[in-house]
Amino acid sequence: MSEIWEGLVAGFWLVASFDADLVEITLRSLQVTLTAVVIASAIGLPFGAWLAIRRFRHRRAAIALLNALMGLPPVVVGLIVYLLLSRAGPFGVFNLLFTPTAMIIAQVIIITPLIASIAHQAIRDIWADYHDLLISLSTTKGQRIRILLWDGRRALMTASLAGFGRAIGEVGAIMIVGGNIDHATRVLTTAIALETGKGDFALALGLGFVLIGLAVAVNLAIHAIGQTESEGKW
């Protein structure tokens, strides 16, 4: 119990003193995760929406596959990306291993199915709602996609947020492909793993509380921007 208290205190001092290492690690965490979320959303949101409204033969199988991909163990993704990016592997020439780019690649692979799946579910619900009306109004396919994406923007934002949550706390894959190199690829989660491994629980907990605070802050910020809780709107 005292360790948790020590952790809180350690975390507080880290933040209050704007500890240079902490700032660097936090910024890198955000850089990696936000970039991954933007890319994964750019792929996953339209794909999920498309899957919701397009009827094609193997649609059910595609949806089942998408849901299964959500369960991809991140550490396995990390291992596969590592083998692909290693100098001994097919994409070694790009020299991407142990860089933030490699971490972004791994995280994009991990969270895109999640974002696409939630987007698909959300759009499917709205499409089921709007279906008869949109057909009755003789809308084109483009007009349908536009209104589904716009009216569903809150749910789509939730999908991206879910991706963010999954990515910011991820440690296995980015540890493998990033290498947790100090001043290069160390982020909050890998730093926590390292400090825990050294037995420095107070520091690890401190970093942990910073991570939690960061995740909560980003969530609050997005909801504030979206004004999703204000009465009567939407």
Partner: protein, 266 residues
């Protein structure tokens, strides 16, 4: 616009610049805290920024084989020699040594304290079936541990023998939680933050000698490795400033490593 582009490219490009060297080192080397002392000095004296990948000896060797790093620093002689003989490394250069120690619960149920030899200590642990945590990760420490079991004539197996497949720190955490015996390098133990009820019970047997060696990755196998930087680093690691830093590194007044690099035998 150009500024923005350069900034973007700088973000996207790999962080490996001209004077950056990637080196795979063992967890025991890092957990001792020595790397935190050496790296800034290296940067200042040679201008080389060393990127450390802290992994087990086994993985360090694999990284060297694949050419994902420019040099390795490990502590498992047999594996190192095999690595060089297979052509993955150019040569092996001894830098420093420390020793392994046997850590265990303060109550010492196996009675290893005061025994004469490491082999005897391990025999006692096996005989009393006291819980023993093994690195189990093909690391230098793990290989040393297995060699010691061999000396003791014991095949370690059973519910009391617990291989965790993790680095030094994580393994020590597990031992602390299980109140178990464990073989650790002295430096990592001294720098470890979660000692709980464990204590240093056995040390001093010459067989526990732990030699660290530096191996540059062979540029003939992988022509992209920074061979000249690797040699420059080797020169520094075997120089007087390195000697002073390594011999002078202490935790709680205890010296951890002994510098023992000698001039190259060309």
């Amino acid at each position: 616009m150009i500024r923005l582009l350069t900034l973007v490219l700088a973000f996207c490009a790999s962080s490996v610049t001209a004077e950056t060297l990637r080196m795979a080192v063992t967890t025991s080397f890092h957990n001792s805290g020595l790397s935190d002392v050496l790296l800034p000095a290296i940067e200042e004296d040679t201008g080389i920024t060393v990127e450390l990948l802290i992994v087990g000896t086994g993985q360090a060797l694999r990284l060297g084989e694949a050419g994902d790093v420019d040099a390795i620093l490990v502590h498992s002689r047999a594996a190192e020699e095999a690595f060089v003989n297979a052509g993955y490394g150019t040569h092996r250069r001894e830098i420093m040594y420390n020793d392994f120690v046997i850590i265990g619960p303060q109550g010492d149920p196996a009675g290893v304290k005061g025994l004469a030899a490491a082999a005897a200590a391990l025999s006692a642990i096996a005989r009393t079936e006291s819980v023993f945590v093994s690195r189990g990760d093909d690391s230098g420490t793990h290989k040393k541990e297995l060699a010691l079991w061999g000396d003791a004539g014991v095949v370690p197996e059973g519910a009391w023998y617990r291989p965790v497949g993790a680095g030094m720190g994580a393994a020590l955490n597990t031992a602390a939680a299980m109140d178990a015996y464990i073989l650790a390098d002295r430096a990592s133990w001294l720098n470890f933050g979660n000692k709980a009820d464990l204590a240093l019970l056995f040390a001093g047997d010459p067989v526990l000698f732990n030699q660290y060696a530096y191996i540059p990755v062979n540029p003939q196998r992988h022509d992209h490795v920074k061979a000249d930087l690797a040699l420059a680093l080797e020169d520094w690691l075997t120089s007087a400033p390195a000697r002073d830093l390594i011999n002078g590194y202490q935790i709680n007044g205890e010296t951890l490593f002994t510098f023992n690099a000698i001039a190259p035998a060309e």
